[in-house]
């Protein structure tokens, strides 16, 4: 037996961060493509406009990354629970979720994972977001800051292997984010309806199915007597 229930999954700060990040990253991809291939891509008009747009969008994404980190770690104190896979996730969860996406989904079985405010992501999502949010995004932000300040940060750039290493890292990490974007958006359509996972990121609430099993009531043993404890009177029972 199951019943549908609304769960408040995405608080306002996270929704603001998510959509700012989304717009920022799309802007960065378009302006970055024009900066790298100015002879082919001229969407934003002049090269200078592309540079300014890229710099401003990059700074916004960087600031919001810090905001995201501070919000989850310091305000909610749930960063590790939400984003870091636990032992169960690593041993069984990822494989279970992978099997679901690769096989069970096609035969119509339900997802083995149900989101809650405490555990928002399935084990595969956790692993993917861990890489994206803790490796790729910080790297792209740090290399971007170095590339924006070549003269003042010249020594740091040289210590990191030179400007071409920094540029290559920035470019490859940006390509990874672009690639992740396709998968991210596609997986978001795998809910009960194609828009089911988009709604919580807009309105905050997600409709989840709660499975209830008929409670199996055991007959209490005849010698059993429920005892009520009163902690304020230690050692005394009525």
């Amino acid at each position: 037996m199951s019943e549908k229930k609304m769960v408040y999954l995405q608080p306002i700060p996270i929704r603001v961060w998510h959509w700012t990040n989304a717009i920022g990253i799309i802007t960065l991809i378009v302006s970055g493509a024009q900066i790298r291939f100015p002879e082919v891509i001229t969407v934003l008009g002049s090269y200078r406009t592309a540079i300014w747009t890229h710099n401003i969008a990059g700074l916004i994404v960087a600031v919001f990354f810090v905001f995201w980190l501070v919000y989850y770690q310091m305000v909610r104190d749930t960063l590790d629970k939400i984003y870091i896979p636990n032992a169960e996730d690593l041993m069984h969860g990822i494989l279970r979720q992978l099997l679901y996406y690769c096989f069970w989904y096609f035969v119509g079985r339900p997802s083995p994972f149900h989101a809650s405010p405490e555990v928002k992501f399935n084990p595969m999502q956790k692993a993917a977001y861990l890489v994206v949010m803790f490796i790729i995004v910080p790297l792209v932000v740090l290399t971007g800051i170095l590339l924006m300040n070549v003269t003042p940060l010249r020594v740091l750039i040289l210590m990191s292997g030179g400007i071409k290493i920094i540029d290559a890292l920035h470019f490859f990490m940006a390509c990874c984010i672009f690639a992740f974007l396709f998968t991210h958006v596609y997986l978001a359509t795998l809910g009960a309806t194609p828009l089911a996972y988009f709604k919580p990121m807009i309105f905050g609430w997600e409709e989840v199915e709660e499975h209830h099993e008929e409670p199996h009531v055991e007959e209490p043993p005849t010698i059993y007597r429920p005892v009520r404890h009163f902690p304020e009177y230690p050692g005394k029972t009525p």
């Binding site: 199951s2 900066i35 790298r36 291939f37 100015p38 002879e39 002049s46 090269y47 200078r48 540079i51 300014w52 710099n55 996406y101 989904y105 096609f106 035969v107 119509g108 079985r109 924006m148 300040n149 070549v150 003269t151 003042p152 010249r154 020594v155 750039i157 040289l158 210590m159 292997g161 030179g162 400007i163 071409k164 540029d167 290559a168 470019f171 490859f172 390509c175 990874c176 672009f178 690639a179 992740f180 974007l181 396709f182 998968t183 958006v185 596609y186 997986l187 795998l190």
Partner: protein, 365 residues
């Protein structure tokens, strides 16, 4: 007086004048070295006996003989500009000086139309005893001239109002590249040495002495032109960039106008970044290697067409957005992006083909 008499008299006067000029020249020749145009040996030597000696004169009167010797001003000789120096010199009287426009009238008329006119005299930028053509000077030295009046930080802030990374642009480009019009440009590549020969030291233009020391007394060009054909190929530049023997030496490049005009102006078309930042920008195709000479000037050595960006890209601290991009990197990047499409395309196709399974389950539940 008839016409024939007038003709005869004029011929007589002309002959007498010619004879007078010849006599005067002969008399001058007997006095010692000639002061005429093109003869520098004698009189320059007399002047430089004092003006080339730091013990005898100081400040602006002191002339660096090595730097002066190769200039056109040395060839025409000191008296060409400082005529009528009295026999009692130095007697405290001001030394007569020629005006630059007496010879450089064309430059002067061009300069008088520029935004600099009336603000800086010729000597404000050019030391007449060290005048060098743009061919003989590095881009960094050109900017040092400008830096005499234009404060580096103010300029950086002013350019920063519209130019991203203004400080980097001002360091990597001669001011005249954007502030004088020219039909064509080339990339002047020169060797820089890191301060104290450390990996992270600030790069400074390598001096003749430094490079001579590295080559062990051989011609500096042999550092790069290994086959000695007085022509630098891309392969030779790559080999120089990869050499670990002199890792503290690097190539740097400055885009320089072929012909430097004195019409300093603010050119709006230079605000178009793709003038430089674009694949195969025409202004970046031609390059030369500028090597320091013993006399403080630079000599130019021809470099293979299209080598500039390839060679500079080989150095650890050069990257020009839009112009330097590795094709291999672009292909790998494209593969990564396509990798992101694998899941949506394959999973999406199977999802579409198996949609009935999920509808059935929904009906059952």
């Amino acid at each position: 007086m008839n016409a024939a008499t007038i003709h005869r008299m004029s011929r007589l006067l002309m002959t007498a004048a010619t004879a007078a000029v010849l006599c005067a020249s002969a008399a001058a020749a007997q006095d010692g070295p000639g002061y005429s145009f093109g003869d520098s040996a004698g009189k320059n030597e007399a002047c430089l006996t004092c003006h080339g000696d730091a013990q005898k004169v100081k400040g602006a009167s002191l002339i660096n003989q090595t730097q002066f010797a190769h200039t056109t001003h040395a060839r025409i000789g000191c008296p060409s500009c400082h005529d009528a120096v009295g026999a009692g010199h130095p007697d405290g009287k001001p030394t007569p000086r020629a005006s630059c426009q007496q010879c450089h009238a064309e430059v002067n008329s061009e300069y008088s139309l520029s935004i600099h006119a009336g603000k800086a005299p010729c000597a404000g930028c050019h030391n007449p005893h060290k005048v060098e053509s743009p061919r003989e000077i590095s881009g960094m030295e050109i900017n040092q001239m400008c830096g005499g009046c234009h404060d580096k930080f103010k300029m950086s802030a002013k350019h920063g109002e519209w130019l991203p990374q203004a400080d980097l642009h001002l360091y990597m480009l001669p001011c005249i590249t954007c502030h004088t019009g020219a039909k064509s440009y080339f990339v002047s590549m020169y060797i820089v040495s890191t301060k104290n020969e450390t990996r992270l030291g600030k790069p400074e233009v390598a001096t003749y002495e430094q490079l001579r020391k590295v080559t062990g007394g051989r011609d500096i060009l042999s550092l790069i032109d290994t086959n000695g054909d007085n022509y630098v190929s891309i392969a030779e530049l790559r080999s120089f960039n990869r050499s670990q023997q002199h890792a503290f030496l690097r190539l740097q490049g400055m885009m320089t106008p072929e012909t430097a005009s004195h019409k300093f102006e603010i050119l709006d078309n230079r605000r178009n970044c793709t003038f430089c930042h674009g694949s195969g920008s025409s202004s970046m195709q031609k390059s030369v290697l500028a090597l320091p000479e013993e006399n403080g000037t630079y000599r130019r050595v021809a470099v293979e067409q299209g080598a500039a960006l390839d060679a500079l890209y080989g150095t650890p601290d050069f990257y020009m957005m839009g112009s330097n991009k590795s094709t291999v990197m672009s292909i790998i990047g494209l593969c990564i992006i396509c990798g992101g499409l694998i899941m949506p395309v394959f999973h999406g196709s199977l999802r579409f083909l198996t949609r009935k399974n999920r509808i059935k389950k929904e009906h059952h539940s």
